[in-house]
Symmetry: D3
Subunit: 228 residues, 6 copies
C-alpha cells in the first residue's frame, strides 16, 4: 500500500451559501443539480427526521480499518461533514460512540459512512445523527493506510473535499463546490414553482393539465378505453 | 413500445366488503386467502403503524419514468389504492410530495410502489402513508408509455384493477375481487379461533397441546432426551 | 430427514453472571470477547431501543416450517432467549403474535429469528421485542422435523444451548457459556477505559494522541500536506 | 391452503408459428413485443449456447416442495416448456436429473425454474438445458399443494399456459398466445432492418448517422468540446 | 483479538470410507445425510465439471487477511480439503496462484473459500479447482489472528476438522466424521434406488405412479379440470 | 438535466507503456498500484479467458438509455476501452451486437459496462469480449443526456478518460494515466519476485518460511497445540 497522504486543508464554499443550501432537502437539491450527485440509496439515516448540510472532509480507509477516520476528525472544522469511504466493500462498524463524541466536541455536523456504524443506541441518546450503509457491531483495526482529503468514491459518487453535502431522510446528495451558488439559485426557483403546484394539486387539479402531460400522452398514442 | 392503454374504469368490490376486510391485518388476510396474494417483503411501509384497505388502480410504468402514475391518479376515486409497477426493476423515486398532494386531494387511500419514493419527510408531515421498495431521491422522466388499469405484476404478484389491497406493518396482500367475500368470512372465522388460542396461550398452555402437535412429533419419530 | 432430536435441558450460565453481562451492549460484549460471536447484521430488532440478555435455547427448523419452534417454546424457562435457525435460507414469517403470546406467558426474554417474523404491529403493542432477518406475513407449516437444543448455525454463527445471548440496537452477539465470566470481566474493564476516553474526547482531545495513533501514521509513512 | 387445481389442457399456439418464433433470439423477441414479457435476468441458462422455444405449461408450487412439478410433467406434450413458480421466494433445488429424465422421455423442450436446480453435472451429460435462478442441492418435499396450468408469476412476469416461451443465453421472454403471430412478423421485420444496420456498422458507419441520433443530441443541447 | 490457536492434527475418517464417499455427488450425499451439511449455494466452483472429496482442515481468518490460510496449508496432508472461513463477511481475494501452487505441492485436494479467489486464469491453467463465493483481485494482509483446526462456520454450516467434504458442480456438502460410514451406506442405497427410477422414467413412466404421488394429490383434494 | 458535454479528445498514455502493462494480469496490476483502482467484482467477463488493456474513453448515460454510448463510440480510436457508467443503478442491456459490430469496426478493444449487456451469443460468435454487471435483454431508449469523456464512477471507482484499463478473468482495474509507468515497473518487479516464490512453493517450501510469517504468528501469540 502506498503511504497515507493527508491534506490538511482545502477551500470550503462560503458559509452563507451553505446556509442557504441547508434550506433545501436532498430531493430538491438533486433536481436543482441536474439530477447529479446522489449517493446510492443504500446510505440511510440512523436517526430519522434530520437535515444536515456542510462541506465535505473526505477519508479513505482500508476495508476493516478506521485509522484514517481518526486522522480526518482532527482536521475537521465546526460544521464539516466527514465522508468515510473504504478501499473495498465493507460492512464493519467503522464508527461508534467514542468517535462520535470526538466528532461532536469538534462541532462536526455529521458523518456519512459507506460502511457500518455501531453504538446506535448511544448515538440516538447523544442526538448525533449519522448516515450509514449498515448497522454492525463488527470492530475495525487502526493500523492501515488510506488518505484524508483526496477525492473518494462514496456510495457510487466521487466526493472532493469542500464539496457541499446535504443529508436528510431521502438520503445524501453531494454538490461540487463550484456549483453550489448555481444549485442554490435553481433550488430556490424550483421550490417557488413547486409551492404553486402544491397549491393547485391540493385544490384538486391534475398534473396532466398543470404539467402539460396530456400532449405527451397523445404523442405516445395513448388510447383511453371505458372499462368495467 | 406499444401505445399506452388507459382503462377508465372497472368494477370495485362492494364498499361494505372492503370496510369489513379493512378490519383484518395482512397476516390474517393472507392466511384466510389460502396463503395467496402476498407481495414480496421488499415492499415496506414508509410510515409505521398504519393499516389501509381499498380497491386497486394499477399503473405500469417504463422503468425510470412516472408518466403513467400521473395518468392513473386522475382516474382514482376516493378510497382507491394506486398500485405502481415498472417494466423493468427500478429503484427510482417515482413518487414524491407533489404526487402525494394530488393523491390526497383525490382521496386516494395509499400508493403501493414497486420502486422508490422520495420526500419522505414531507410525506410523514402530511401523514400520508405509502408502501415502497426503497427510499430514493432519484428523479424520473414523464415521457414514456405504459398502461393504466391493465393487470400488472407488482413485487412478484399479479394485481388486477379492482382487486382488494390490504397494507400494514407486515407488508401488502392482494385479494381478487371475486374472492373478497369469502376471504372476509374466512378471516372472521380465523380471528375468532385465534382469540381463543391467544387466551389459552396467555394462560400458559402449550401449542403442542392446543394445536395437537404432539402426534405430529410422534409421527416424525421425535426423541426427547435429557441433557445437561 | 432424520428423526427430530429434542434435548430437554442443558446447563445455563449462573444467573448472576448473566445479570452482569446484561449491563453491557452488543458492541462492548463483542469487543470483550475478542471480536467473536457476532451474528450477521442482517438480524435487526423489530422494536428499537431495547437490550435483552439470556441463555440460548436453540431450535432448528425445516425451511418454511415452524414445528420445532413450538417444541422449543415448551422447554424454555423464564429469561431464556429462543434462537431460531432453519435448514436452508428462509424468509418465511416463522413467528407471529400467537407464538409470542405463548413465549411471553413462559417468561421468554426474546426470540432471535434467522428468518421472518409477522404480526409486528401486535408485537409492538405487546411490547415484546424480537430480532429477525425480515418482516413477512408468509405463513409456515407445522409438519417437518428439525431439532431442539442441538448446536445450530444462526445468521453465520454457531450457537449452543446455554450460550449467553445479548441483543440490542446494534444486533446480536453470542458468548459460549464457559466464556461468560471472562467476557463480563473484560467488558467491565473496557467500559472503565472507555468512560475515561469519552471524557477526554468530550473535552476536545484527539484519538491520535489519546490512543497513540500518531506513531502508527508515522510507521506507515504518512505525509501531511497543506492544501487549499 | 386451498385444494390444488390441475387444468389438463389448454390451447397451444400453432406449431408453425412457434417454429417461426424459434428462429429469433430473446432480445429480438423482447423488442418485437414492445419490450414486454422479459423474465428477471436472475434466471440464467445452466447450459450455455442453446435456444429453446415452446408453449408454456405452468406449475405453481409451495416454496420448498415440488409435488406440482410432478403433476405438471405428466400433462406436458412434446415441445412444451414447463414454467415452474413458487408461492414464496425459494432457492431449493426443485428439479434434478430424475425429473429431467422424465421430462426428456416426454419430449419436454426445457424447464424454466424460478428457484434452484441440482444434478447439473448430470444435466450437462444428458444435454438437457434448463434455465434457473440458482444451482443448489437443497432437496424439496413432495407433499404440498399448488396448481397446474393456472396463470403464475415467474421471475416477475405473469405466464399463462399456452404462452410462447423463448429462452437463450440472454434469458427468457414470454409472449401471450394471441400475440405470437404479430411478434413473429415484427421480429422478422426487425431482423431485416438489423441485418442492414449490421453491414453498415461493419463498414465503419456511425449509429449517430445511421439511426439519426445527431438531431437528438442537438435537441438536448449537446456541446462538443476539444479536450486534451 | 485473542491469540491464534493452531491445532496441529486431528483424526481423519478412514481413507477407504472417503474413497467410497467420493463416488457420490453432492446432491446424493446431502440426501443420504438427511438433508444436512449443505453449504450456502453462494459457494460455486471456479472450474466446472470436477468432483472432489477429502477431510476438512479448517482455517478461520480475520476478514481481509489470510495469515491463517498460510498457517493451515503447512498442516495439510495429501488429499485434505482446506476450508477457509472469515470472522466477518468478506469478498477479498484471499487465495491466488501462489497459495494454490503451495497447496498443490502438498497434495491438497481443493480449497473451499467463504470469500473471494483471484488469479483464476492461472488456476484454470494449473487445473487446480477451487470453490469460492466470489472472484476478486482484491488483496489481503498477512497480519491478523484467527485459528487453524477449530470448528468454523463456512457459508452457513459448522465445519469441524476431519469432517468429510464433497464438492462438485452442485456446490459443497460437509459430513461429520462420525457419520461418514452411515452416509456412504445410505448414498449407495439411494443410488441403487435412483438407477431403477431413472430407467423407469426413461421408459416413459410417471413419477406420480412410480413414487406413489397420486394418493398425496388425492389427500390434498386435488381437482383435475379439462381446459382449453 | 444539464446539456450533454462531449469531450472530443484527451491524452492517452504512450502506446509502449500500455503494451507493457498488457503483459500483466488484473491481480498483479492491482497490487503493483498499491491495491488501488479495482472495480467492484460485480463486473464479470462475458467471455472467459481473455485479457485486454487500453486507454479509457468514458461515457455517462441516463439509467435506461444508451445515447451517450453511441456518441462515445464515434470518438474512440483503435485499442481504446469504452467505459460505460449510468446516472443511477441500472440492469438494462445497454449494449448488444449492433453496438459491438460498430465497436469492432472502429478497433475498440472492449467495453466495460456498469449495467447489462445482451446478444451475448452473438458476441461470443464475433469473439468480442466485454465485461458487464449483468446479462439482460432489456432494451434502452436513445433519448437522454449524459456525457462523454468526463470523469465517471464505474462500479465504485472513478475513471478519467485516458486512464489505463486492464480486464481479465479476475475483473477490471483502472490505473491513472500519470501512474502507468510506475505501475508497469512495480508489476515487473512483482512478477520477478513471484516467479521465484512460485518455484520455491512448487518445490515444497512453506510461505511461513519464505515470506517470514512465523515471526508474525509469534508476535500475535499463536499457540500450536497437538490435537486428535
Amino acid at each position: 500500500m502506498t503511504a497515507p497522504q493527508i491534506i490538511r486543508d482545502f477551500r470550503r464554499p462560503p458559509a452563507e451559501l451553505l446556509a442557504e443550501l441547508a434550506g433545501y432537502g436532498v430531493a430538491t437539491v438533486h433536481e436543482a443539480y441536474g439530477r447529479r450527485g446522489l449517493l446510492s440509496p443504500e446510505i440511510r439515516p440512523v436517526v430519522a427526521g434530520r437535515r444536515v448540510c456542510g462541506p465535505a472532509v473526505t477519508s479513505l480507509n482500508t476495508a476493516g480499518d478506521n485509522l484514517m477516520v481518526h486522522a480526518a476528525v482532527e482536521l475537521c472544522r465546526p460544521g464539516d461533514v466527514l465522508v468515510i469511504a473504504t478501499t473495498a466493500p465493507s460492512a464493519h462498524g467503522m464508527v461508534g460512540d467514542l468517535l462520535c463524541t470526538q466528532a461532536r466536541a469538534r462541532g462536526i455536523a455529521t458523518l456519512i459512512i459507506d460502511a457500518g456504524v455501531r453504538d446506535v443506541a448511544g448515538l440516538r441518546e447523544m442526538d448525533f445523527p449519522v448516515w450509514a450503509k449498515v448497522i454492525s457491531a463488527q470492530g475495525t483495526t487502526k493500523e492501515h493506510g488510506g488518505s484524508v482529503n483526496l477525492p473518494v468514491v462514496c456510495a457510487g459518487r466521487t466526493v472532493h473535499p469542500g464539496d457541499a453535502v446535504v443529508a436528510d431522510d431521502d438520503g445524501v446528495v453531494v454538490v461540487a463546490a463550484a456549483d453550489v451558488a448555481a444549485v442554490v439559485a435553481a433550488a430556490a426557483a424550483r421550490e417557488s414553482r413547486e409551492a404553486v403546484l402544491r397549491e393547485r394539486y391540493a385544490a384538486g387539479e391534475s398534473s396532466l393539465d398543470v404539467s402539460s402531460l396530456r400532449p405527451v400522452l397523445d404523442r405516445l398514442g395513448a388510447r383511453y378505453v371505458d372499462g368495467g
